[in-house]
Structures are given as C-alpha cells and as structure tokens.
Symmetry: C2
C-alpha cells in the first residue's frame, strides 16, 4: 500500500538524465520514493492512503541550501550597504555578543526553518555557535540539516574559552550523532584567517574520526586572501591543502578568490564547494569563478549564507542570481544554463553535504523530500521549459506543498510544524531589544 500518491504534475526528477515526465506521478512509501512514472490515462491510479492532485504543477526534489547560519535571521536587515569591516565590527559582532544566547538561537533557527520550508527548501547546511541549543528546534521544524558547530580561535557564544573550541564541537557531535534521522552533526571552522593551523588540523582530524562533514569559509574576500598570503606565503586553498585539510569530506564555502592552480588543487582533492552569489554580491566580496570550478568537475552546491548579510533564505532568488551573474560577468549568455543551476540547488547540493545517496533527486529508494509548485498564476504562464521556469520565474511563494522524509511539512502554503504567531511575538520582542541596542 502506497502512503502518499502525488499525480497530475510535471515531474522533474533531476536524475542523471534530467528526465522530465509530463503528466507524471510519484508514489511514497515508508518515507521513501517507491515509484516515479507516467500513469496511463486509461488506467486507474494505484490505491494510496492519501492522493494529492498536483493540478499540473511541477513536482520536484526539495531545494538544498548548502550554506547558512540559521540564528542570524534575527539580524535580517539590521545593517546594510556598509563597508564590510565596519558592518562586522560595529554591528554584527556586538549584536552577536549581546543577543546570541541559548534562549535566542532556537527562535532564530525556527524563523529560518519556517522561511525555508515555506519556500521549498528541505535540507540545509548550517554552521554557527550554540548549535546544541537550536538543533532541537530544527528537528521540530521537520527540516533535514547538516548542523556544524562553530570553531574559531576567539571567545564565541557558548565557547568563551577558545582552547576548548574543537572539544566543544566533538561533544556536540557525540550528543547528536544518530539521534535524529533528519540531522547530521558536523564541524564548521570559521575560516583559515580566524583559526590557527593547529585548530584547523585538529578540527579536521576530529571530523574525519567521527565521520562528519568539515565545513569552512575560504577565500571569501580579497583581504582574506592577502592576509593568508602574507602569513603563510600561499593562497588560502594552497594553505589548506598543505595542512592536509582538502578531501571529499571537506566543504569549502565561497571560494571567491581562487586562481587556476587553486581550482586544480580543489578538483584533485575531491573537496566540495558552496557558492553563495547573493552574499558575495551584497557584501561586495567578489565573483567566484563558478563556470571554471564546474568545468574542473568540482561539486558545487548553492547557498544563501546567513540573513544578516543576504537578507533572506530564498533559493529561488539565489538561482536566478547565480544564472544571471556569471552570464554578465563573462559576457556569455550560455554559461550557467538553467538546468545546471537547478542541479546545483538539488542533487549537487546534496552531494556537497554528503547526502546525495539519500536525497537531491526523485529516484526510487531515495528518501521522499519533494515539493509541489503552483500552476496558473500570471508570472507562471505560459510554461515552455521546466528548468527555465524554475530558475527565471518561480518564486518562493509558488511552493504549494512540501514533504520531507515522507511527511508533509507544508500543505497549501500552511506550515504544519511551527506555531508562527507565537514565534513572531517572541522574535519581534527580541528585535525591538536589538534595535534599542
């Protein structure tokens, strides 16, 4: 017996062949995808506990936000359009020091999960502090996530003594490994500039020993590249390579200031990457050479980065931006075609997070993380090509239903897992305190 049958949709599988099935159906059983096919018009649909009519809308894998900082939605739009150093040191760091607490982080994480789920994001890769205090909120939201406990060589929320940063991350991993089917703990080293070589190596060793993903911001800004070159005589990527940190368990975030040799090193190492175009644009960090990274065969996922910088967690806008930015930067309208961008935001994002056997496409045996889009709105009419539609016109509000691990978390745009009214009251009260300073 099928648990959930979704039919009468345009099924975008994002399988190896990018197969698209008009008038298709997806069957879900025990949280898994049981069947993806085009039912014959003259045959009855199979029996199912629940049958959902997609009404001609697109049925596709849930989106994967491969890099964010969940609690930072509390600072959404608090400070913008400022020079990076002033923004960080005058606004973000002081706000984090005062307002990022065990009590506030679950509020920010719930708010971020609510936004992502309503926009069709079913998996996120996160790195922040006090993760122990908000992992429960993420699980309760029903979101699939890789949650990295932050490691930095400065006093940080929850880790006032930086000599304990790696062991704090290890303890977090021990507590959360295997605890929830949806959550994978991880280690998130802040950057090569803010962690010593000893910290980086010890954190990578811990990640490998515990079998979790090692995440790190790298080569985000020109200043960071110059700092590492000054201190270590080589580029940030070469520095990490020299420390033995680059392999298929490492996730490099940003990689804006990388040269041809850096790209070859990343490709050879098997390390994966996350591209965050809106964050890199808004903070004026630079333009990552994504077409070159893709040509080198590197796995590249897409991420929104945290809300203090971006200022939202909207992967539809991020896809649009990724497709258009590189076209104009290279003066070549054929780069970053729509299908490539859709793959980055689904199966490649899953691969970046080490979850590609589990999610990222609609294929038999994978966990059922899927979304159903609206149909019949002016901006969605007409529809000629599904991938183009997704990248260039679909918006977060066009997501109708969202399923994670076989469970509905959004139905008809109603979020089923979080009490939004109660959450808004708490978040707005905190925001008024943050505003008062």
């Amino acid at each position: 017996m099928i648990d959930t049958l979704i039919h009468n949709g345009l099924v975008l599988t994002v399988d190896k062949d990018f197969k698209i099935i008009p008038n298709g159906a997806v069957a879900v059983r025990h949280g898994c995808i049981e069947k993806v096919w085009a039912p014959q018009a003259d045959q009855a649909l199979p029996a199912a506990r629940r049958t959902i009519d997609a009404a001609g809308g697109i049925i596709m894998p849930g989106l994967i936000n491969a890099h964010t900082h969940l609690p930072m939605s509390l600072f959404r739009g608090m400070a913008d359009d400022m020079p990076l150093e002033r923004w960080l040191h005058e606004r973000i760091f002081p706000a984090e020091a005062r307002f990022i607490t065990p009590a506030s982080v679950p509020l920010g994480a719930s708010l971020s999960c609510a936004e992502m789920l309503l926009g069709g994001t079913t998996t996120c890769g996160d790195g922040y502090f006090l993760v122990d205090h908000f992992a429960g909120a993420v699980a309760q939201a029903g979101m699939r996530a890789v949650l990295g406990q932050g490691v930095i060589d400065f006093p940080a929320p929850g880790v006032p003594d930086p000599t304990l940063n790696v062991s704090a991350a290890q303890s977090f991993i021990e507590r959360w490994q295997g605890r929830s089917a949806l959550l994978q703990p991880s280690i998130f080293c802040h950057s090569p500039g803010t962690c010593s070589s000893r910290t980086l190596q010890s954190a990578k060793k811990a990640a490998d020993e515990m079998g979790v993903v090692f995440q790190i911001h790298v080569a985000e800004t020109r200043a960071e590249r110059e700092q590492i070159e000054g201190a270590h005589g080589c580029s940030p990527i070469r520095y990490l390579d020299r420390l033995g940190i680059l392999d298929s368990g490492t996730l490099l975030v940003h990689a804006v200031w990388v040269d041809t040799e850096d790209i070859a090193i990343i490709a050879r190492s098997g390390a994966r990457m996350v591209h965050c175009p809106e964050s890199n644009m808004k903070l004026a960090s630079g333009i990552a050479p994504i077409p070159d990274l893709l040509s080198a065969g590197i796995t590249v996922g897409l991420g929104t980065d945290g809300c203090a910088g971006n200022n939202d967690l909207d992967l539809w806008g991020e896809m649009d931006m990724a497709a258009k930015l590189h076209k104009v930067h290279r003066l070549n309208p054929t780069v970053m075609d729509a299908a490539t961008v859709v793959r980055m935001t689904t199966i490649e994002g899953a691969r970046a997070l080490g979850l590609d056997r589990m999610v990222g496409s609609l294929e038999i045996g994978k966990r059922a993380d899927l979304i159903v889009l609206k149909n019949g709105e002016p901006h969605l009419t007409p529809l000629y090509h599904a991938a183009s539609h997704l990248v260039y016109v679909v918006r977060a509000n066009d997501v109708r239903h969202v399923m994670i691990d076989g469970q509905w978390v959004v139905r008809e745009r109603q979020l089923l897992t979080i009490d939004l009214d109660a959450l808004f009251i708490q978040v707005n009260a905190l925001a008024r305190r943050i505003e008062a300073g």
Copy 2:
C-alpha cells in the same frame, strides 16, 4: 468626505526627504492623495467611505516599471541561455513574425498587466508594435502606462512598409492622446542601429511636436556600440547627440556601453535613462555604469525589459539585482544603497517617464497610485529598516492591495480588473501553437 482611508501602516512617502511615518495613514479623495499623516492614538480616524486596516504593513507608492514590451510575455521562457544573435534571429524574430498579431497582442498585454498589478507595479513604460491593438487591454486592466508605438526601418508587425513607420506612430498618438486618464501615447525608436538618422530625427521631431516621450534602446551591447562607431565614427550617445535627439523628452534605455564623455553628454542634455539589470545580465549585454550616471545627476528609472529575455516583470527581483550587481562589480558594498534603489523604482521612474508631478510618491495632490504590503510572514520578520526590507526581502507575492488613480485593482491579492481563468485558457492555447512552431 474621504473616499478611501488606509491606516495602521508604515507609510513610506518617497518624498524629497524619504520621510517614513510609523503608524501612519493615507487619505484618498477624488483619485488624489488628500492627506498623509500619523493619526493620534487617542483621536478618532476621520470618516471615510471605505477604511482599510494595513495591519502594520508598509504603505508606499506603486512601483514603476520604466521599460518593458508587454506582449512578449507570450514568449516567457521560450528560449534561454543562448548566444544573443542566435536567440534573436532563430527564435525571437521568427516567433514575432508568426505570432505577434492584432489578436495576440491584447492577450500578452493583459497577461503582463496581470503579473505587474499583482506584484505592485502601477505604471509601466512600454515600447512595442501593434500598440493600437493592445492599448485598450492596458486601459481595461487599470494600469497607468506610457505606450510607445515602435519605429524600426524593417517590416514590423502592423507596419509592413517601414517608410510609414513614423506616420504610423503619429496616427497612434493622435488616436490615443487624451483618450484615457491612465494612458500616455509615445514613440519608441528601436535603436540607433535599426533606425536611420533620418528616421530618428523625424520620429524625435514628431514626438516633440505632439508633446510625447521619445524612447530608444541605446548602447545595449558592445556589438551595437562597435557598429555605430564603425558607421558614424562616434559612440551611440554622441551619435544621438549630434542628431539633436538628446533632451529632457528623451528616454534612453539600457546605456550599458557608455563612457565618461557619454555620461557628461547625457547629463548636460537632460535626457533620462532606464536601467534593466536583469535583462542586461541574462542576455550578457554588460553592466551599465549606474553609480556614475547617478553621480552625474542623471534621472535613472528601473525596468524589467520584456519577458522573452528577463523572464518576468518582477520589480522586486529587479531592485534586489540592481542593489547587489553594482556592489560586487565595484567591490564596494556602499553603492546603490537600498533607499537609492527604492527611489529609482518609484519617483525616479516617474520622472523618467515624465509623470513625476502626477505619481511616484505619496504626497498631497498626487494621483493615488499606492500599494499595501503584507506583514507577518517569516521572510518579512523582523523589520528593522523599511528601504532595506523592500529591496532585499520583499517579493511580488507580498503585495496585498494595489490602488491606481484612487481605484482598487488588487484587493487581498485578488486581481479585480482581468478574468484570469479566461485569459489563461487563451494564452495557453496560443503557447501550444508557438511551441509547435
């Protein structure tokens, strides 16, 4: 007696001082803005025929899309990610030749108006062919518009004999001048590369004599700049200047490939400009030097361009793109701050179209073109700064109510002026024919 009173909102006036009124109200009478103020909590609201509670949402001027091609929504997503010349000659021009007809253009125009109205765009500047055949659809949608009849030295839809192109535009203007309070006819010369100097001068003369805006695409691509330099020995802007075409009645669209001298010439002439960042990005045309054009004091509005290229008419995405693109291009996060981008999409767009005395801000005596946004959605929470909110997080679907000329055209996201179901049936039937080729 007030006709409509909207209260309990965050009023963004976009007046000279960018005044923002928390817990503000707007009164509308006889289609005009009668009062904009902060009612005292202890005083009764004035009597009004209809009173609308904005529920804490933003009340602001309707957005102004200063450049589009309305009927081209029929081709939304038909062809993407192709080299520009192949895209134009193999896909767009053949599709226009076959499917742009007196019967199809009102469908495309209605579809475009529906999308724009539901996204809070209350005025558009358009340039296309067969305008006579879709101006009625625009008027019926309740959209305010400057509609330019296309002039090009090739056979065009409705004007098979190009020697009659200027006189066809004159006839259109004669028929529509003063006919509708919402519509202003105009002339739209396609570009300096596709119109002879004689056509350009004669069209500009006609526009001046009839007192209408003269629109023209200019310096959109490097190829166009090189073509004009080869043919006339100077840049496209200098060429137009030499022909006597640049003055405050001229609206220059794109202006991507302009140099310092071009910018000085535009500034001196008083000509206005429209920036279409998403179109320029997706077609890989280049990045217009908008911060320099603004520094020179040039009026710059924002436009989506037509749907065949962009692929939507969403000014919220366009604002986000405009703010972020120039930051990363200049590696400077302070350029194109949020308030500047909001002005470009409201009062400056109105100025570009010659409508700034009538619309573009919430000020007493102006026509009541305004929108009310939603409040209380995860991605809209918290709200620290209104301009940042509008540029970086608000999406088209966050528009709740839309008023044009004192009349509601959208209430609670329901479009009141167009029968969408009937329209979709016709548009989808045509799209299947276009697809079959």
